[in-house]
Symmetry: C3
Subunit: 430 residues, 3 copies
């Protein structure tokens, strides 16, 4: 199948200011931090790098959130060292003070302080708490869309859990793992049997038995539905439906009554990304056991180095690979945990994989379509100012689903309801 | 106020061989090492990088100091591994031997050893001990100026103390902190109250009360006097006078009877510099308590990793920032110690700050004038061969001062004597 | 003497695909791994980087060795995480499986698996165990030469020992140390007296007494014989003969009845190389004491960080330099061990030394001739397709020798037999 030309790979992987894909990302609300990173008013500011821009986030004395240029407008000292007090963040070098909008509100050395300040403003973006996540929109305020409506951040707090981890590769190769349903049978075969947040579902059996899933990919308002069809009982198919909402929200099809999970893949710069990983249940609280398993790095979550969002198993320690466990088949690649199994392989491709060397197969059709759609949207935005899919919050009210259907049925027709968010109704799961 | 054009920023920050600012630095005697780094005859050689040149310093059997190209003229092995013995430094690879002038004095493999050696000479610079510092002059020997006469290295040993630390940014942004009197009120407010080498002076009160110092900057023979004027008692001003002697010697105005201190900022390469920090008292020995405080990293000194000149609190550990101490106001930025408060913010700007993004204010007038003066001197040297200010040792006999004057008096007129070095007379201090 | 032009230095030091020296190296069988790195069938694969190509080596269920492109042909995941089982290496991402020739033999997602696989083949090279080394030939299979016949890997296992270490510099400056007989008198003077694998030989005395060896360099079929002549007893010369077989095999002249040793210098990329170090005795088993000394890092071997081939003493810890031992003369450079004495100095020159700054002497004539020969061979290969010296296994059946000859005798005439491999006959050694 066709390989990706170098220039298209660059278009899709570069998200700094002024790049087509960077402008695309700037159309959306994206996760900037976990809410836990700014736990209280006047807490320490946090360094944030997104889409190759360096900023600090802070929460002021009134609980307002701000995301502003990291560097003081005066002589460029980092505001990460700043004093967060009295409804503003003060540069510790000469006391210049900014509010959450980046507006300078005090320059102590100036006699006519207020008129001087008026013209000093840091680049800043809104920062809004929805669920356990602080969201930002780094694009033009004039065309700022309504706030995101992903179900995961709108269910009650006891029904949801979100973690994040630093991934040392470009966002696209991380994201592509998220819509790649065919690798589960291999890379995660151990996890299907043992992971407390995956095991025990009937669907896992279909998953393991049929290594040749057939893929059907359909456009959705916000992106795609990737349907992976495997043989089930006589005359039936087991369908796993993975929704993608542009630019980078994906959900894993559910398993039994386990919470359903997914990811938001956010570029830090062109060689690093944040993987936000979430689990939620549409109709019930997470059990203590489930929540603890997530904290412990099971399911789609990772165990991180305390005080950081870097996984304990990482590139520098070969992901703590255990060749004996691999040999015994407990893990397929020797790496423990579903999250790090994905991350280790995605990072192993190099910071930005050379997609001109790929050899794609029909099982990659979700990935192929997603790339086409991203490219098309980025170019339409750049050349004609077209608002891309997924910006409208209505596009975000989707779910993944795992269903068994008679062979004759179309997954899209039969699952119209299953892939929609319906409050009070559980996910469709096998 | 005007920002600095990119090309001017490059001119001021680049000091490698052949650059205008590099040539300017090569007109002066500058600190190359602390004398303690070569503690005895035939001690181990020391790697030295200055103005982007890699060298080794050594002290031979007769106590002569040498500063020579790091690499053997033969096949380029590092002479840092060399044997310092028999009045010369011998390359351990094939035994080639050099004296302190870089002259090759033995090539064991050669039959006609002396005639061969005659034509082998390493680049070398003089290395002269004055006070606790080994000074070098990396420019043309033909126009070598007389030795430096800064008071700090000429008072008796018991009256002076010098330390150094590696700073991970360009020399200019480190130096600019040294003539920036307005940040004391903010960044060092904790130190004014608690540091054993700063606290207790009457002047500190004026410093803290008036956050809007007025700046008056005057040319001196060797550079500038930066006067910062704050309100004192009725009808009086508190003046703090910071002398700068080109290229990179600055002094902090004194406080009470504390020793007076200052810095010499020396480029290692374009992204690193050595900060030499000194304290001395013109008329009395340092007390044991004072000396110990300096060793412990108080005042302008830093606590370094044993066996190195790298601060214990550094970029890799976020300067051991203590957010609780910052919250309580014990430190303004969360970083402990006056030296590291400065260094942390200067390094936070990046290796070479982009000065085209600055927003300068009248409180920066010392910095603005210093940049103009540096640029003018570098260009005059390059284009017309003009010897720059500060080369003449007479220009170096200056002091900082802190005085209270009637409002009507000019600080320059009133302080003519205070800013001059007068042996046997104490610094003018409040 | 003439310095090396920049373009010639680049020609000699660059060995990536498509470079003239890279093509030269690809004419030969070269060491790829130690056999111990793939200790059993279906053991974990090993990452291998050679001549700037990244590969994995593995040993399949039948004991066949393979050296294949590190990255899966599908989407570029590293096969280092692969499952080595069932006579092939399986990518853990989607289960693609390859045999030792790099041929894809299974793509689980594909219905018509075998016809799809047929067209999927990873770049691969043969991997052949001879002695304790796995050899590869990275050039065109059509002109693949017969297997190497170096004596060291053909004597019975109890007579030979091989180690390897990572050296952080270009292969050429490591190799040049291997044919540089004149540095022994200096850098290794301590080792001649104390190293259990060097000390006690009569030849060492000649070595230490005469610091002005005369060099005579003669072409051999495969490269050079570098003869270093020193004064011995009245009327006699002590000759040390170092053979070089192209591209990078060198042997140290023997000492007494010690095992004889040598090296193979293999480019990893342009700034790193593997140093393979061996000891063997042509006619007897190594004693337990000798073998243990080699394991302990004596002689030409290094003590490595357990689980790695990086020396314990390395660039990051200044090679554990001991200035007191240097002062006392126990070591000449302060670095312990013959291997690390060489490596430390070669690495100290920088990743790729600038040979335009050299000042060569007659004692460097071996190095000068070797460079000329390499350059000539690389150009003859590139321009005319000439097979270079050393490819023919007959060229590889050489030995080093150390002999005392009457002054009138030619070393080449007298040593014709000594420098030839004669099974059952001991090395010629003094």
């Amino acid at each position: 199948m066709a390989v990706l030309r170098k220039d298209i790979n660059e278009l899709l992987t570069q998200t700094g200011p002024g790049t087509p894909m960077g402008e695309l990302f700037r159309q959306y609300w994206i996760p900037a931090l976990l809410a836990e990173e700014l736990p209280e008013n006047d807490c320490p500011p946090v360094r944030v790098k997104l889409l190759s821009e360096r900023m600090v986030a802070f929460r002021d004395s009134e609980g307002r959130y701000g995301l502003v240029d990291e560097f003081c407008a005066h002589r460029g000292a980092s505001l990460w060292f700043g004093r967060n007090e009295g409804s503003g963040l003060r540069c510790p070098y000469h006391g210049w003070k900014y509010d959450v909008t980046g507006q300078c509100i005090e320059v102590p050395s100036e006699a006519d302080n207020s008129s001087f300040c008026q013209n000093v403003q840091l680049t800043s973006y809104p920062l809004v708490k929805i669920g356990d996540v602080l969201w930002t929109h780094m694009g033009d305020a004039a065309t700022r869309p309504p706030l995101p409506e992903f179900e995961w951040v709108h269910v009650p707090g006891e029904q949801t859990y979100t973690s994040k981890r630093w991934q040392q590769c470009n966002w696209l190769q991380a994201f592509e793992g998220g819509i790649d349903s065919s690798h589960v049978t291999f890379l995660h075969s151990g996890g299907l049997k043992t992971d407390p947040l995956f095991r025990g579902a009937k669907g896992n059996e279909y998953n393991m038995k049929d290594t040749k899933p057939f893929f059907e990919v359909a456009d959705s308002d916000g992106g795609l539905f990737v349907g992976a069809r495997r043989n089930a009982e006589e005359g039936e198919y087991y369908w796993r439906i993975t929704p993608w909402v542009m630019p980078a929200f994906t959900m894993v099809p559910p398993r039994g009554d386990h919470p359903v999970h997914g990811h938001f893949w956010v570029p830090i710069d062109d060689e690093n990304c944040w993987t936000y990983s979430f689990d939620y249940h549409p109709v019930r609280a997470l059990t203590e056991t489930e929540r603890q398993a997530m904290i412990d790095g099971h399911g789609v979550h990772s165990k991180n180095i305390p005080g950081t969002y870097r996984p304990t198993a990482n590139m520098d320690n070969d992901y703590l690979i255990d060749r004996e466990a691999q040999k015994r088949g407990e893990t397929y690649s020797g790496v423990a945990g579903i999250a790090m199994q994905d991350a280790s392989l995605q990072e192993s491709m190099g910071p930005i994989v050379d997609r001109s060397k790929e050899r794609l197969v029909p099982a990659d059709s979700g990935i192929i379509k997603a790339r086409q759609k991203l490219r098309k949207a980025a170019i339409a935005l750049r050349d004609e100012g077209v608002t891309p899919p997924g910006v409208d919050p209505a596009h975000q009210r989707v779910r993944s689903a795992a269903v068994v259907l008679p062979q004759a049925e179309s997954f899209l027709d039969s699952c119209r309801d299953a892939v929609k968010v319906t409050p009070g109704v559980a996910q469709s799961s096998v």
